[in-house]
């Protein structure tokens, strides 16, 4: 995307110390018929501005629960999450959320879908229209602004979903297995594009995935979570230089990092750095 944002110039990711999301003792217990279910045990985590943080872990370890609480979509049962120093109590327009499905409205064209948030905010005007077109251009859909979702492939639909989020310029992007339903090739391409775009715009990303190598490849830090009860079992720093290239995945260091993550996942205890 053209770096026409007013955000700080793309500095080295994670190098900047300014915290944007601070999670303190954040936990969630669901009360269901059979008794309480601890979905997430007390989590402490600080995420810095512009940082790309991956969350990996098996099904049921509380990844979605954590993201939903940071999004302000789910109340915490203990602790708190803060955005720019303010406790998160409701959704914020500074935070964009992307799901595993593209969630496009089939009766709207690509451009109308991308402009839907602007309609909700009451900011739909020529400027946002231009912005939408620019972002669609950036995600490679410049020629498809008037197409309907059914005319697009799964990967293209997710691009529209990404464009819809980027158009309202969130500071933080929450992604819950956004490309999980896509094939390997498309997913890799989308990952590279996502890193390029969010880095250029200085967007902080919280990226949930089941895929360990994807988590390591993309992130500045990988948060490893384990289930029953859901908790954070380790955090690993990834100091590969950016921009990331596929070749980095062939290095010994990459393999070592994968093993390190696997180790933590296997033991379910904190033995990380």
């Amino acid at each position: 995307m053209a770096a026409q944002t007013q955000k700080p110039a793309p500095l080295e990711r994670a190098a900047q110390g300014v915290p944007i999301i601070e999670i303190e003792g954040l936990g969630k217990t669901f009360a269901i018929d059979t008794g309480p279910v601890v979905a997430l045990e007390s989590v402490d985590l600080t995420i810095r501005k512009g940082e790309f943080v991956s969350f990996v872990g098996p099904s049921g370890c509380g990844k979605s629960t954590l993201l939903n609480m940071v999004a302000g979509l789910l109340p915490a049962s203990g602790g708190q999450a803060m955005l720019n120093g303010d406790v998160i109590e409701e959704p914020s327009r500074k935070v964009g959320f992307m799901f595993q499905t593209a969630v496009l409205l089939p009766w709207r064209t690509v451009e109308q879908n991308v402009l839907m948030p602007a309609e909700v905010f009451g900011t739909k005007n020529e400027a946002t229209r231009q912005k939408a077109r620019k972002v669609l251009e950036a995600v490679g859909l410049g020629d498809f602004t008037d197409a309907y979702p059914r005319q697009l492939s799964g990967g293209m639909q997710q691009r529209v979903s990404l464009a819809r989020t980027l158009t309202y310029e969130p500071d933080v992007l929450l992604m819950d297995e956004p490309f999980g339903a896509l094939d390997e090739f498309t997913r890799e391409a989308m990952n590279l594009e996502l890193m390029r775009i969010t880095q250029a715009a200085g967007i902080t990303v919280l990226f949930v995935t089941h895929n360990i190598s994807e988590a390591v490849f993309m992130a500045d830090r990988v948060v490893i979570m384990t289930p029953r009860p859901g908790k954070v079992s380790g955090v690993i720093d990834i100091d590969f230089p950016r921009p990331r290239v596929i070749e980095q995945m062939q290095s010994q260091k990459f393999t070592d990092l994968i093993f390190q993550v696997r180790g933590i996942l296997g033991h379910g205890q904190d033995n990380s750095s």
Binding site: A71, L73, E90, P91, S92, R93, V95, G96, F97, F99, Q100, T101, V103, L104, L105, P106, W107, M116, P117, E119, V120, F121, Y148, P149, R150, Y168
Partner: protein
């Protein structure tokens, strides 16, 4: 809680890549062929003496009766009465079904309280109300309109409810994440999403409205096409009975095609709706 499923949405007529236009044409010819065979059998059966022409007049006799009927002055009055009952009953029934369906969908407490009542009401074969409505609302059009409303609102209600409740969870989450108001979510997401299902209910409502009006007229009326059917039956003018049936079928089919056309105009994204 009892569960009632929505009226199935009509399958969309899309051009399948596996059937070429030639084949399509062949199917159409088969349809017409079957129709012609039925008409031929109908024409021949009374002529060959297989059935008495008093019980089943030949096809040509029915067409003859139809043409005579259409030329009578009194016919237009009866036609207009029934058509008015159907149209008013259908519109009111649809409006009531839509309103209650929306109310139950957006207000969970109301649904909890009222849904069992609605389902219980649907379990009653509402035809039995017809004599009662005549007693309450008289021999005129109003009792038939009420009958049409009472049996036509339900498919709209249930399809509206089911359609609005089938909005995917992720779409709701998306709207919440951008702080959309409930009204914005309803207008931009839920209602359009539910529209194909609602429309299937509306099409069913039209059929029911026709039935309601005719049943009302059977039970007690001094005018209308249902009244004519009764009258001609008693006079043993079966050719005219059939002629009125042809007219009723035409009303039903005409309304249906009108709705079908509106449906396609309105819901142009239809073939996509279940994959999203």
């Amino acid at each position: 809680m009892a569960k009632i499923t929505a009226v199935e949405a009509e399958p969309v007529k899309t051009v399948s890549p596996y059937t070429n236009p030639n084949q399509e044409l062949r199917y159409k010819l088969y349809t017409i062929g079957i129709l012609l065979a039925i008409v031929a059998a109908w024409e021949m059966a009374p002529r060959l003496g297989l059935v008495s022409p008093i019980i089943l007049p030949s096809f040509s006799a029915v067409i003859g009766a139809l043409i005579t009927l259409l030329q009578q002055d009194f016919f237009l009055r009866h036609f207009t009465v029934t058509l008015t009952e159907i149209v008013i009953g259908f519109i009111l029934g649809t409006a009531i079904g839509l309103s209650i369906g929306i109310a139950l969908a957006v207000w969970p407490t109301a649904k909890r309280i009222a849904y069992p009542l609605v389902v219980g009401f649907q379990a009653i074969p509402k035809i039995v109300f017809a004599p009662l409505f005549i007693a309450w609302f008289g021999f005129g059009m109003s009792s038939k309109v009420v009958m049409a409303v009472v049996i036509s609102f339900f498919p709209v209600l249930i399809n509206t409810l089911v359609g609005l409740e089938s909005v995917p969870e992720d779409a709701r989450r998306l709207m919440r994440s951008i702080k959309a108001t409930p009204l914005q979510t309803f207008r931009k997401v839920s209602l359009p999403h539910a529209l194909p299902v609602i429309f299937a209910g509306i099409k069913a409502a039209l059929t029911f409205a026709v039935i309601g009006a005719i049943v009302g007229e059977f039970v007690g009326a001094s005018e209308g096409l249902g009244y004519l059917v009764e009258l001609y039956k008693n006079q043993l003018r079966i050719d005219r009975v059939f002629a009125v049936i042809v007219i009723l079928a035409t009303i039903g089919a005409g309304g249906y095609f009108l709705l079908e056309w509106l449906d396609r105009k309105l819901i142009f994204w239809r073939d996509d709706s279940e994959s999203k």
